[in-house]
């Protein structure tokens, strides 16, 4: 990885109603804590809803990945509502479609399959994070 790598902002769905919102969040934490610590950062998505200057600066100055939990795509749309282009966007349900042996359950707290699915998804997103951190993707 590039020693001068930029931060990459990963914004998950903030939903508390569906399991794939929880998968989006857990995948983000896996990226932050285990897969690309020091590179991946996040912020609270609702800060964009209230136009928080610090959160807006973070997403304006760094490449952004969104991971949404449902087709309403709140994470993606909350960023683009500010005229900021999202570098890469994912739907968490597609992580499950690619790994159907890991059917997740739980909303407030994921079950074991959910945690495994998020870990696998985070591993698979690492390449995209590295490209963005290195400035290889606009």
């Amino acid at each position: 990885m590039n020693q001068e790598a930029r931060k990459v902002v990963v914004l998950p769905c903030s939903g508390i109603g569906k399991v794939y919102g929880a998968i989006a969040r857990e995948t983000t934490y896996e990226l932050m804590d285990r897969v690309r610590p020091g590179v991946v950062v996040t912020t609270c998505l609702p800060l964009l809803v209230i136009d928080d200057p610090e959160a807006l600066r973070l997403v304006r100055e760094n490449p952004v990945i969104t991971i949404d939990g449902c087709p309403k795509s709140c994470a993606h749309r909350s960023v683009e509502a500010h005229g900021i282009k999202v570098a890469k966007t994912y739907q968490a349900i597609n992580f499950y479609k690619a790994h159907k042996d890991l059917k997740p359950d739980g909303i407030a707290e994921l079950d074991e399959n959910g945690r495994k699915l998020a870990a696998v998804a985070a591993d698979e997103l690492a390449e995209a994070v590295d490209e963005l951190a290195a400035g290889e993707v606009k």
Partner: protein
């Protein structure tokens, strides 16, 4: 046609970046699933921006309680700005202080004492639901 049951809307801070956000989500789910399942509904906060008129009407359709994890009060401000005035606005740090509970430090995989704190917060939210329903 059945009787219409009044429900209270719960809007939780999603707080992905702060432990109090995780506590808020967990406590709100406890209210929705265990403590007051028949009396409460929720909405994902960013739907006020990403959703349509139906989502933005949430606070006019339901008396709403916002639960925030920090002083930025995203849930309260977003609801006021985009949907309607909440009936009650709760703040996790104030609830924890009231009960002499230490601030949480985990974003995920809450420790047992943090799960216990979520239960205390959930019970406070449930009391607020009852107060709203009692008018």
């Amino acid at each position: 046609m059945g009787l219409e049951v009044l429900k209270v809307g719960i809007v939780s801070c999603s707080g992905e970046a702060i432990p109090e956000g995780t506590l808020s989500r967990l406590a709100c789910r406890k209210v929705l699933d265990e403590l007051r399942p028949a009396e409460t509904v929720t909405i994902c906060l960013p739907l006020f921006i990403a959703g349509g008129p139906e989502e933005r009407d949430f606070a006019s359709k339901y008396p709403t309680i916002t639960v925030d994890g920090c002083e930025k009060r995203c849930a309260q401000k977003s609801t006021e700005k985009l949907s309607g005035k909440p009936s009650k606005s709760l703040l996790i740090p104030e609830i924890l202080e009231k009960h002499g509970i230490a601030k949480p430090t985990s974003l995920r995989n809450l420790r047992p004492e943090e799960k216990a704190a979520a239960q205390v917060v959930a019970e406070e939210i449930a009391r607020a639901v009852d107060e709203v329903l009692e008018g």
